[in-house]
């Protein structure tokens, strides 16, 4: 198996990427990791299982996505997506510009037949520890009901084959649990989901229940999903920030905090989405994974683990099958 990774993607690149790649190369000798970067000086030693693919350009986080992938054709993001298309690698991972990765995926890797719009699908942590796949979280701010239906089908295959959920339950993000709640979009999507026997639709899910893990796959339009994702991050961060203040307020509190530290650290780790790998761009014709911008070495290592499962379980072929079945509808 060959997995390409963007040496320049993420706040801690290239060092965190290289450390993660080294960890992965040690762990999985059956996998060749192709580091796509501007200078091979970032990887001075020759390490078994790691190849280097030289490029000359970098797409910056603030670059306008569509324009940058059209212009910077020798950037790590564009080259990574092309390598997937040309089957020079089996998967590509980047912690860089999300919009550019999506645009490069669309232009250079292409979509699965039957999919209108690929979706960005991260796993949010849940109290149960299993996590919940949420899609779309912003690849496409606006969606029609048939797009949400495609997300549900893509998410269902991915959750089963990569995340290991048996017959994953699909929920529809909405502002009430009863049928008939919400917008024209959610009402139409509800009807489409309910009519599809190939997915295990369990109804509307309210935003307050998401972290309790009411389903394995949560479907929403990109605008709402982005609000949900960023709000979850923001509220958790705000509470942990405030908690830290409390725990360091005085000497006695610091002592109490020292006692609680192992448990709180475990908890913070559970809530850390980086533990769950990156977010796949579901609906593209190859496995392309967006690692979180703040990824550390472990996060990149986890993203490589995830890409391995994506490839080993032949997920793209199964999505193709799902959508060829759907074409006769």
């Amino acid at each position: 198996m060959r997995i390409a990774i963007d040496a320049h993607g993420g706040d801690h690149a290239p060092f965190a990427v290289i450390e993660g790649v080294k960890m992965a190369a040690r762990e999985w000798p059956d996998t060749t990791i192709v580091l796509v970067g501007c200078s091979d000086s970032i990887l001075p030693e020759s390490i078994p299982g790691i190849e280097f693919r030289q490029v000359t350009e970098i797409i910056e986080p603030e670059d306008e996505p569509v324009r940058s992938v059209r212009r910077k054709k020798d950037s790590s993001i564009v080259v990574g997506c092309q390598m997937v298309k040309e089957k020079k690698v089996d998967a590509f991972i980047s912690g860089g510009n999300t919009g550019a990765l999506m645009a490069a995926g669309l232009f250079y890797t292409g979509r699965l037949p039957g999919v209108d719009r690929p979706a960005l699908a991260p796993v949010l942590p849940t109290l149960s520890g299993k996590g919940i796949l949420v899609l779309d979280v912003g690849a496409n701010p606006e969606a029609r009901a048939e797009h949400l239906h495609q997300y549900a089908r893509l998410g269902s295959v991915y959750a089963e084959k990569v995340l290991g959920f048996d017959a994953p339950r699909i929920g529809l993000l909405n502002i009430g649990t009863e049928e008939g709640k919400g917008t024209e979009l959610t009402k139409s999507a509800f009807a489409l989901f309910q009519a599809d026997d190939a997915i295990r639709f369990m109804g509307n899910v309210e935003a307050r229940d998401v972290l309790y893990g009411p389903c394995e796959v949560l479907v929403c339009d990109g605008y709402s999903g982005n609000i949900l994702l960023k709000n979850t991050e923001g509220v958790a961060k705000a509470i942990f920030d405030r908690l830290k203040q409390e725990l360091t307020a005085n000497l006695l509190n610091k002592l109490a905090a020292a006692i609680l530290k192992p448990g709180l650290k475990r908890f913070a780790k559970e809530m850390d989405y980086k533990e769950h790998g990156g977010a796949p761009l579901l609906g593209l014709a190859g496995p392309i994974i967006k690692a979180h911008g703040s990824s550390d070495a472990t996060a990149f290592y986890n993203a490589i683990r995830q890409a391995r499962r994506f490839v080993a379980n032949n997920v793209i072929a199964q999505m193709e099958e799902e959508f060829s079945r759907g074409r006769g509808e």
Copy 2:
């Protein structure tokens, strides 16, 4: 001043309502509180400053809003809204069925001239302690840009006159801070906000920043606002639930928790939206406030304080002025 309150609204009604009313009557002798309920036996003693208005029906939380306010014409919610219209009271508070309160407000109290759709506008807690007014959070799941603009104008007046913010900053909930981000709706709303000199528009606000209080008024469509509100509640609850587990995991942790208890309690109180009173239905022709369903006596007392400010500062008249100014646009 006369403020009516629904004796039957909320999970802890009528007892929490009555306790809150008693606290308010003691605190503000200039205010007569009209308890609207089915049986005066719920208030056995005669208390100075408290009147009773008998009704014969109750709208239940699970009742379909529009149908119930049309049929149950002698319910506390309908009668309360009518009393505002007929100027028998200056304001009405209910902790009951939100949709029914909105429907009764529309049918029996009416809208302000120039307002298409009233919005539900709660205050979310922020780390700074000042709170942030968010509207709409679900009165109308779908909105057009001009509705968002109306929310911004209504929220601006309310935040200044009732919440006491000087020249409140208006933010637009969006999936990126740059202009041009988001959906057709947010793009059009951005342009309308920017062109209006009477509001202090500070641009797009991302969901991850809301609890840090980036502005005083946050505008969004009802569907997104509802997702934001319920997600904030849900994430905070999930974290506190999990924290509780950690704090009681063993004897040593319980000891540490005892030390931290006062600080953590203070923090939990800061995060409690009940401290911020109820959510006004902005855009109706009178002050109508939705108290949270889980309101306790203090929350009802706080909602009465808020209704007093709403009335004393002549906010409805100022909103009318704001919208008469706008009519020539």
